[in-house]
Amino acid sequence: MNPSGASVSLIGHVALLAIISFGGVPGVLPDLRDFVVSANGWLTDREFANCFAIVQAIPGPNMILMMSLIGWKVGGLPVAIASALVTFGPPCALSYTAFHFWDRFRDAAWQQRVRRGLAPVTIGLVIAGGAVMARTGDSGWPSLAITTAAIGLMLMTRINPLWLVAAGGALGGLGVL
């Protein structure tokens, strides 16, 4: 496949994944990995893992940045920008439209019931996301200790979470992990 063919094909795939990613973008990462690493060989497995780790370690819209970094690897800046746009554009338009409908019926009994049913599942998924992320590093008990300490401090103190992130990075940089 020629380079521009690769770019178009990547953007198309990212757009498709974004619009079917009900429940959020992290759920499509396995599929994305298969597409860019196994099927097309645009990135190595290591590079894909690095992209994921980097977007966790920098601020900003993580998953949009992840798509952009993959786009950058495949076709440079234009593809990076296009990947970002297709990741958030169509889903945004859909959310906006659906939200109007949702908000209009916010006092309806059916919606209260739907909300009460959805909320706990959603919250379970958020916690699971954290747990899966905690294990991606796969670097043993020091990592786990940092995660546990961050949970405890976040719940029991009013410390600014940025300090926890910085402390984690510093310990990692010192080679503790």
Binding site: G24, P61, A98, I123, S143, L171
Partner: protein, 190 residues
């Protein structure tokens, strides 16, 4: 522990500029997934929404495609200031943070193989995971007197993090049941 914010203390934002700036801040702080920061900044600092309203919005947005937090941004903007609010919040969330984050990301990518950066990335990822888990626990607190809700949160957690089932399967299996077993609010559970 900070107490859950209740409806009486809520003070919605009034200007498009405030929406732009707050979502810029949420995005620039976004370690551990911006949900951590949406909750911290919009609820704890600004009191724009109650914890309950936020949990409701979050569950709606979880079932929209695309990055959840972008959908939260659009919905909060739209809730307070209509289409202009949605655009202001989205612009704040994306424009500057994407440019900064992308530049840093490209720079990091070229040093990703060095042991120092690998170590830092691991440490940051471990702490960020903790923030995300703690945010989930905070969101669960208002539901702590509803055993059925706790059970469904546990099942969702176990399905995704324990059994590593595909997200779609977990959602399709649990959501209809959870809705069927939920009762509409008679007394707001606090």
């Amino acid at each position: 522990m900070s107490s859950a914010l209740n409806e009486a203390q809520v003070r919605p934002p009034t200007t498009l500029g405030a929406l732009f700036l707050v979502f810029l801040k949420v995005s620039m702080y976004g370690f551990g997934g911006p949900i951590v920061w949406v909750r911290r900044i919009i609820i704890e600092e600004r009191h724009w929404l109650s914890d309950r309203e936020f949990a409701d919005l979050l569950s709606f947005c979880q079932f929209m495609p695309g990055p959840n937090v972008v959908s939260i941004t659009v919905c909060i903007g739209a809730k307070f200031r209509g289409p202009a609010g949605a655009l202001a919040a989205l612009a704040g969330f994306i424009l500057v943070p994407w440019t900064v984050g992308f530049s840093l990301g490209v720079l990091f990518l070229s040093y990703a193989h060095t042991p120092l950066l690998q170590g830092i990335l691991r440490g940051v990822a471990a702490a960020a995971a903790g923030l995300l888990i703690a945010t989930g626990i905070r969101l669960l607190l208002p539901h702590r007197h509803r055993p059925i809700a706790l059970a469904f949160a546990m099942l969702a957690f176990a399905g995704l993090a324990g059994a590593r089932l595909p997200l779609l399967i977990v959602v399709l299996a649990l959501v209809p049941l959870s809705i069927a077993l939920a009762r509409p609010d008679q007394v707001p559970a606090r």
